[in-house]
Structures are given as structure tokens and as C-alpha cells.
Symmetry: C2
Subunit: 398 residues, 2 copies
């Protein structure tokens, strides 16, 4: 056992031995665990994946944003493949080894798709806004709060801006920032790098120092038994009811448990003028529901590749007179109340996603509701879109 | 894509549907990702693992503390196995699917063995000391500090005791607590649950409120080229040299970069009487090296299943006159200087590990050096041993 431990210790020493049997432009991805030489990425964005599976008969690479690709068996028991160039950003993937969908142990683990998935970071040339820079750094805190709504202890991450501890008299505005479906409260830090984005924006004087709260976006009411959805088809009334129950429990958790906890334990500015909410995909839908039901609490709203959502709008246009309790009925009143309504979507997201956001954008224009509509060039329903969203959104706050 | 996202959202709703085709005593392990019905654990500590690999020809379960076990293919494409009863605690494991060693995507991911491994928690009946309880909770912070020693930004986790923020005049003692080889700075929180152990001890009045700093235990000096160990056998002079270089770089990082950063950004008591260090396995060896070389900085020392280590003692006895610069030569002077020297090992750890700790214990007795020697009943070179170590060690501090 001690030899095992020492062996691992040595692994780390070996980690940077030159590999060099291929184009020198390929480098280990920054998303790798220490010492892992694969995945490798080149300057064109091609990704070289390698996995040991000596007795397998079929191994596939499964980038979630593209088709599955067959890997090729080498004589040394490793399977390899090099992709075509990928757009910059963080790409989730898994490996399918003889039918078993698994993660690549050479990659760090990112919670997505309801599991710890692999991901590879393809650098964006010239983009340093989401990297760690030589600027003052905020801290990320793990906190636990007791929710009477769910009857459980709940875990959240909180970003505190640089010097929060030293500026003991300062109070800060708060952005509540939600992950997508299948992800969790760690997504905006691990995948999104929200902390580095904010550090860099704050250091450049481009955005106000603020607190960011990242909650776990799933909730079930205390005492509520889980629904039995066995045999109920997708979109069935039973399923929609279950989704509404969860959305409503999460809404109450945020407004009745999380916000009071944050405002009572951190030096926040706790009025509505200093509270924002945004989220990606499912988190955007939650943001719309929660903020528009609670305009007494929020005055800045962001929907990143997700906003109205199937629970409210489905595939139809917004009706400003009736949807969301009619908050969009009076544009002047809305503009006075809501300091920012922000929508974003990537230009190569799936058509149905783009269409939904564009339809909402057009509906808001028609209803003369002031808002920002941002399109991220060349990016899919992936984290690069949402990093850019945050970079555009945060400077407009407070 | 939206359908995919919604599908995941629904997964969570389904998560607690009764399964019920087996002994009712089996329950999903608390280390599972949400919604995962497997691994399952029964009250005897047996673990039932299940993985989908429809086209595989051989699947093995690899608990790191025991032999590999063949899994059995079921007609539905799943492979299953039920273990014999395991001792309580957190057990790392991987799956070997047609020769590919992979993690189980039903398990949360724990960094160990140089990768994100799977683990299953076998509950210890009657032991709540490492569970989240209805007591005030501290926070865990992620911090980044710039190390001139390594020339890099380094990441550490910091536990702050309950009410740290509210007690703005209070200063706290600090325990530096290190992970083992193959693990990283997240180990003591994710696997060890050090935060809950401290929350519970503090709430019970059994230990002083303290700060715990958990550093990343690998380091390479700025500008140092990685050693080329190709073809160098285990234990070769080149390898020992490389290990010494890393140990020395980490020692300087802790004493010259990390401690000054912590003392300048947190409300610490920064004298030696209020600074402790402990670590497990490799972290114990690092603790001995760093504390005994810097008794101006530390006055409490803990070695959890690791202490002298091969770099200093190898398999020989301690020579109190010469080892560690002779700090053990004068028992009275040592006792005056060091408030606590603590060693621990599990009773079923590998014989070589046990022998090393027992030999050190006997050497210290012979040299009349006051110390605590703790044996964790029935536990291996695993986290249950180190949780118990912390529970015994922390109340003796400060």
C-alpha cells in the first residue's frame, strides 16, 4: 500500500516527460488531470483522445455536441481518434466502451448530464477573460443552508469579490446564477469559470464588485412523495405536473430560504435594486419564473439560452397581456421596474432552441419591452456561449 | 437539445421511484449521484454494484482495498455483483470493462489514485460524527494564492468555523491538513468530511473553533525542468532525488507562500502556539518534514498512517540523536517545544505500513519522546481511519 502511494507520488514527477511522437502543435488539454498527456488539443482545435481498453471490440468517442465517432485500436491496447477542429470552449464528452458509456479518467470530472462527465477545453485564441490572471482573486465559498421548504440541508456555492474580507464595512449587490439541467451548483465555477470572469472584469473596472450565489437547481417539497412517472410519456400531463411541482418548490426555496440565508450571513445590499438573477437553459426558465413572480425581490433578469420555457410558453409566442401575470402589459411600467432584461443564444445552437429565444425576442419587441438580445457567434448550447453571456451581462448590472 | 435538457430535468423527478426487486435492506449509497439507484448497500455492509455494458465480454469490480471480483452479465445488458460485507467507511473503486479501467458514472467522483475515481460509503452504525447534523455549519472556501516558490497560482481549500464572519474581532488557530498521494486538496472535504467532523466537534464543545487549510500537496520549483525518469527503476537514486526535490519545493511553498497568504488574508492567530499540521500517508511524511524543519512555525504535529516515510527513515529505526536535525535528542526540550506529537494507524492496514508506524512509535518511546499513538480498530489504509484520526486529533489542539 505504501508502495502504491509512493508510486502515485512519482507519477506526478513523470508528468511532464516529453511525449513527442506526433505533431508538436498538440498539447495536453488544460482540463486534464495532472500528468495526463491525453486528451491533446492543437491550435486548430482538433482533439486527440486516447484510452486504454486492450480487450474491447468497439470504442466510440461521444462529444455531446456532435455525432459519435469510432475510435481506432492501436497495437499497444490503446484506442485513439483525432477529431475535426472544434469550436473553442469546453466540450463535454464520454467514451462508449463495448456499449458502456463511461468517463475518461484522464479528464477532470465535470458534473453534467446527471453524472461526472469528461470535458476538453479548446482554447480561444486571444481570449483571456475566463482564465486565471495576475489580478486580485475573489473566493468561492461552499455554504450549507437549512431549507424549511425542502426540509433538507442544501449546498450552494458563493463567489465573494476580491477584498470582501478586508472591506469590512462594504456591502455588495448579489447575482443569483443558475446552472442547466443535468448540471449542479458547481457548474458555473468548474465549467463556466464565473469566478475568473468576474475577477477579470472587476480588475479591469468593467463591472461592479458583486456577490454571486449559485444554488442547486432541483428541489422537492418537504413531505412530498416523488411522483410515479413509470410508463408516462414525455410531455404527459403527469410529467408536466411533476415539473411544475419541482419548479415551484425551487422558487420557494430561493425566495424563502436561500435569499434570507444569504442576506443574513453575508454583507449584501438586500433591496431589489441590488439583486439580479440569471441562468442558463433550465436555469434561464427558472430565472424567468422566479424573477417575474417576485419583482419585489429582483430588478435584473438574464436568460442564457433559456427563458420562457415549455412550462409557460411551449412553442407559442408570448402574450404580453396575460403571460407572467401580465408584467409585460405596460412597457413603461416594466422599464421602470426592471432595470435589465437580457436574452442570449449561440448562433449555432439547435434550431429549436434558437427559434424559441428569437420568438421571445420578437414578442418583446412587439410589446415594446426594452431588453438586450445577444447572439454568441459560432457557439452551440455549450459553456462558451454562457461564459460570453456572463461577460456581457455582468457589466450591465447594478 | 432542449428536449435533452428537459429529459435530464425529469430524471431527477424519477429518482426516488421504488425499485424493490431485491432485499429491502439494500439502499442507494449516499455517495451516489442524484437519482442513481446503484451502488446499493445493505446493513451488513454488502455492496451491490450494477453497470450497463451490453457488448462487453468481461467486467470486473476493483475495490482498491481488496481483490478484483468478476461481475456477472444479466440478460438486460447490465453487469452486477454483490460483495461480501465491507468495513464501514468510504471505499474507492473502479470498474474494469474489457481491460479499460474506468469510473462508475453512478458514483460521485472523488479525486484519488491520480484520477476521478468512484467510491461507495458504507455507513457505520451509530456514527454520526462525520455526517451533516443540525448544528451551525462552517464554510469551505476555495482560495488562490500566488506562489513565488512554484511560480504559479495555487489552489487551496480553507474551512472556516461557524460564525467566522459574524465574530469580526475573533482570531483563530490554524490546522494545515494534507491529503495522501494520488489525492488532492479536495480530499479532506469530499472524502474525509473534515468540515462536518469539525462542525460536530465544535457544536459539542469538544474542540476549539479553528481554521483548517488544505493545500495541493505537489509542487515543482519555478524554472525547474521535470526530471527524466524514463527507465529509472523504483527507488533509484534519480527517483529519490526527484521526490526530494518535490518535497522540498512543497516545504518552501507551505512556509514561504501559503502560510503568509493565510495569515495576511484571514483572522488567524499567527504564532507557533496556534499553528498545527497533520496529514495522511504522503501528507504525514510531508508533515514530519515541514514541521520538524520549522519548529519556529509549528507546535502541534499529526501523522495519520504516514510519518517518517521512506525519504527519511526508510525501513530503519529512528535515531533520535541525528534524524530530523536531532530534534528528538532532548525529550524535555522537545516536550516544551512541541505541544502534541500524534501518530495513528488502522489495525488492518497493510503490514508494512503498520510496522513502519509501530517502529516509529517504539523508537519515540525509547527516546522518551511524549506522543500519542492511536490505532483505529478494524480499518485499512482508507478514509475511515483518517476521519477517526481527525476526530481524536482535533480536540487535543490549541
Amino acid at each position: 500500500m505504501r508502495h502504491f502511494a509512493i508510486g502515485i507520488f512519482v507519477l506526478c514527477l513523470l508528468s511532464s516527460i516529453s511525449w513527442g511522437q506526433e505533431s508538436s502543435d498538440f498539447h495536453p488539454a488544460e482540463t486534464n488531470v495532472w500528468g495526463a498527456e491525453y486528451p491533446r488539443v492543437d491550435s486548430a482545435g482538433r482533439v486527440h483522445i486516447r484510452v486504454k481498453a486492450p480487450d474491447a471490440t468497439k470504442v466510440k468517442l461521444n462529444f455531446w455536441s456532435g455525432p459519435k465517432v469510432d475510435m481506432e485500436k492501436q497495437s499497444d491496447g490503446f484506442w485513439t481518434v483525432t477529431t475535426t477542429p472544434l469550436v473553442p470552449g469546453l466540450h463535454y464528452y464520454t467514451l462508449i466502451i463495448d456499449g458502456a458509456e463511461v468517463s475518461d479518467t484522464s479528464s477532470r470530472a465535470f458534473f453534467g448530464g446527471g453524472k461526472y462527465a469528461s470535458a476538453v477545453e479548446v482554447p480561444e485564441p486571444g481570449s483571456a477573460y475566463y482564465s486565471i490572471q495576475d489580478v486580485p482573486h475573489g473566493q468561492v465559498r461552499e455554504v450549507w443552508y437549512n431549507s424549511k421548504v425542502t426540509g433538507t440541508w442544501r449546498h450552494a456555492l458563493v463567489y465573494l469579490p476580491p477584498n470582501y474580507d478586508a472591506q469590512t464595512k462594504m456591502r455588495y449587490p448579489v447575482l443569483y446564477l443558475q446552472h442547466g439541467a443535468g448540471e449542479d451548483e458547481t457548474g458555473w465555477i468548474r465549467q463556466g469559470r464565473a469566478n475568473f470572469i468576474l475577477d477579470n472584469l472587476i480588475a479591469a473596472g468593467k463591472c461592479k464588485p458583486m456577490i454571486i450565489v449559485m444554488a442547486y437547481g432541483y428541489a422537492r417539497r418537504a413531505g412530498q412523495t416523488p411522483p410515479d412517472l413509470t410508463g408516462k410519456p414525455f410531455g404527459s400531463p403527469e410529467m408536466l405536473k411533476a415539473m411544475q411541482d419541482m419548479a415551484s418548490a425551487f422558487e420557494d426555496d430561493v425566495t424563502q430560504a436561500l435569499i434570507p440565508y444569504i442576506d443574513s450571513t453575508l454583507r449584501t445590499l438586500s433591496d431589489r435594486d441590488h439583486r439580479a438573477m440569471a441562468g442558463l437553459s433550465m436555469g434561464g426558465m427558472q430565472t424567468f419564473q422566479i424573477t417575474l413572480n417576485h419583482l419585489d425581490l429582483f430588478s435584473y433578469i438574464g436568460g442564457f439560452s433559456g427563458a420562457g420555457g415549455m412550462l409557460v410558453l411551449g412553442d407559442r409566442k408570448l402574450d404580453p397581456k396575460t403571460d407572467y401575470n401580465g408584467v409585460f402589459a405596460d412597457p413603461a411600467a416594466f422599464a421602470k421596474k426592471v432595470h435589465l432584461l437580457w436574452l442570449g443564444v449561440g448562433t449555432v445552437e439547435p434550431e429549436r432552441m434558437r427559434a424559441g429565444l428569437q420568438r421571445l425576442h420578437a414578442s418583446l419587441d412587439e410589446a415594446k419591452i426594452q431588453h438586450v438580445f445577444y447572439e454568441s457567434p459560432g457557439t452551440d448550447h455549450e459553456w462558451q456561449t454562457w461564459r460570453r453571456d456572463l461577460k456581457d451581462f455582468a457589466p450591465r448590472l447594478f
